[in-house]
């Protein structure tokens, strides 16, 4: 059972790593819009200009 003395610290290091990654992802705005990216995959054209106007009309619609 002494292995626990190694495993728990290792788990803690892992948790620290996860928290760090989570902070980074919040900071980089990955949690800002949880709905948009799901729809993005359905949009065919990759022309950024078109996307902008689309986003605009969507806004005024709602």
């Amino acid at each position: 059972m002494e292995i626990i003395y190694l495993m728990i610290p290792m788990a803690l290091i892992l948790v620290g790593l996860i928290v760090w990654i989570f902070f980074w992802s919040v900071r980089s705005g990955q949690f800002d819009d949880l709905e948009g990216p799901a729809h993005e995959v359905l949009m065919d054209d990759d022309d950024t200009r078109n996307k902008k106007t689309e986003a605009r009309t969507e806004k005024t619609d709602s």
């Binding site: 059972m1 626990i4 003395y5 728990i8 788990a11 803690l12 948790v15 996860i18 928290v19 989570f22 902070f23 919040v26 900071r27 949690f31 800002d32």
Partner: protein, 788 residues
Amino acid sequence: MCCKGCEAVAQAIVDNGLDEFYRHRTENAPTGQELVPEFLRQARAYDHPQVQKTFVHVESDSVREASLILEGITCAACVWLNERHISALPGVLEVNVNYATHRARVKWDNTRIQLSQILEAVHNIGYVAHPYDPSHQERLIENERRALLKRLGVAAVLGMQVMILAVSMYAGDYYGMEVEFRSFFSWISLGITLPILLYSAAPFYRAAWRDLTHWQTGMDVPVSLGISIAFAGSAWATWHQSGHVYYDSVAMFVFFLLTARYFELVARKRAAEAGQALVHATPAVAIRMTVDGSKVQEETVTVAELVTGDRVMVPPGDTVPADGEVIEGRSSVDESLLTGESDPVGKQPGDTVVGGSINFESPLIVQISRTGEDTVLASILRLLDRAQTEKPAVSRLADRTAAWFVLGVLILAGMTAIYWLQHDPERWLPVLVSVLVVTCPCALSLATPTALTAATGGLTRLGLLVTRGHALETLARTNRFIFDKTGTLTLGKLRVLETHSLAQTDDASLLTIAATLESRSEHPIARAICTAVATPPARIDNVTSTPGSGVSGEIDGDNWWIGNAAFVQQQSGTAIDPETIASLHAGGRTVVWLANRAGVQAAFVLGDELRPGAASLVQYLYSTGKAVTLLTGDHELAAQAAASHLGITDARWNQTPDSKLAYVRAAQQRGDIVAMVGDGVNDAPVLAGAHLSIAMGSGAHIAAANADVLLLSQQLPHLVTATQVAKKTMRIIRQNLAWAVMYNLVALPLAAMGYVAPWMAAVGMSASSLLVVTNALRLTRQKKTGNT
């Protein structure tokens, strides 16, 4: 020396023989100027009239009003504290804080207090106030959301570790566990819980501390107390290697509470969104046209730079930057944001346009007449803001109860702890923690404003502006609706209702002749006849008009007359059958006669048309058991005609504003809750006398109309929606309050008797607040489906 204080200090230093200090110091001490915190120096800038122009509304010479955002509001107690603190300042006339939007509306006397002093006072009690600026507020909410998400993430990930260890320890209780491992697990749990306590739970402590330093008890006080006691008790048990540890409860409680807060934040944001749409209506930049000698120059300027008299160019697809008058170009604009009406409105030179409307077809050149806080859009926003910051009676009661409730809980918790210490010292800690944690005063204070903000915001999108906090509550209780006729149930504009051909010519060509005769006249009757005809007027010569009687002219070589009966008979030399005259004039209608040399050719009956939807509104009101009364200054025939068309059984005519008011008073004395619906301009005293005043509002009248509800869309059926929404809002508020009372009545005794483990208390309390907020949010969801 900058002040007496410094002089005294310097004197003291020299007197004590410490003047060596001045010889050896390497740099000057910061002066008073530098010690003024950056914040305050910024606040001073807000006193400048030029800076105030963008966010302060000047009501009269010295009375000003501004919208501020408050940072650091976490519960109803904060709202209460801010309101009390600011209103205690001399010179502050009125202050209202909206919990849902975190906005404060402050009215002050500029000769007695400066805005910076108000900001400073807020700063002194631990909050930060900024002038309201939509983009700034959005950034604040966004930052708050990110910070909360991080705290939530930490609580979740670390909480899971604590749970894993806790489960092993629970298992150890049954199957046996070496003391060495138990102790190790406890210490590790303590280490993991510490960041949850110090980082994730920090906002609770901060809020609780602020409450306590001001002798307040907010809902953060029992929360902080609960987790601190649970943690301290566990740490003591860990150190002494005896007794139970509750790290898992602490972690779980913080996690649940943060989750509830996170959803609440998102909900608050969503509830405030409808009003936000208006804020974003005005663009940031405009194209200003300046005449430089003979050529016209276009330059892009920010909207804030525009002043009255500037000419701006509005290309199709762009938003009109401020109120003004069209001086060049023809187009149609979409004013739906302000009126809820989605059909574009035609505009030509001379017409007024309001800032925030969208130009559709072709470029318009607009001369700006009002900017900044004076625009129609700004006054709508101000009214909406006022409605959302004013609290209805039910909400005020809840706020007051919440503060006492928390105090009661603290006392009860103390008594419970004493009782258990005497009877079962083993269990006093978990029971105390449960009592502190299980109570949920949030439903009392938090759900009401959320529901109200969501409801008023949704109605605004329909073109129905609620301007008073009590309006929805009163509307739900109203049992008598009193309508004014002209301009309210009717359009208030003359229209050709009937065409009677007295010769063998068809109606359409007679109307065309009439319109041709009247085409040069600006008289309301002439306008009504002209708008009834689609074809453009024919050629006409020798037009002469006799004011008050009629017009004559020559069309295709034939002489025609149009006007009242006497004029037409005299000019054409023919008599009209008196019976025809009498029958057409029946019901007090306006009749215009058309004649040529051959005799009288036609009669046009003009009248005020009923507003579309008026009948269905009246029908709806009757079907829901409300009393409906028609009060009009018009004569009997006109009043009865309108009443019978609409199905109103109770009509009163020849009313003066005074007698209308007397009628409203009498109805109120009989115990009726009276809503008066009027056009807002002529009915001001009656509107003011009713419990609830509803006015038709459009354009520039908005600021002047002193009504509780403004029907910007001028669509009567929207009142049906409004009554339904009002009822639903009140129902949801009642449900929430009932839930809050019931939950606390059941949960508190159970917890005090020791039937609720700390972790159950954590789940119960968080679930209860979530339930209440989600219930309030139903208001936004329903509205959207009903709207489209």
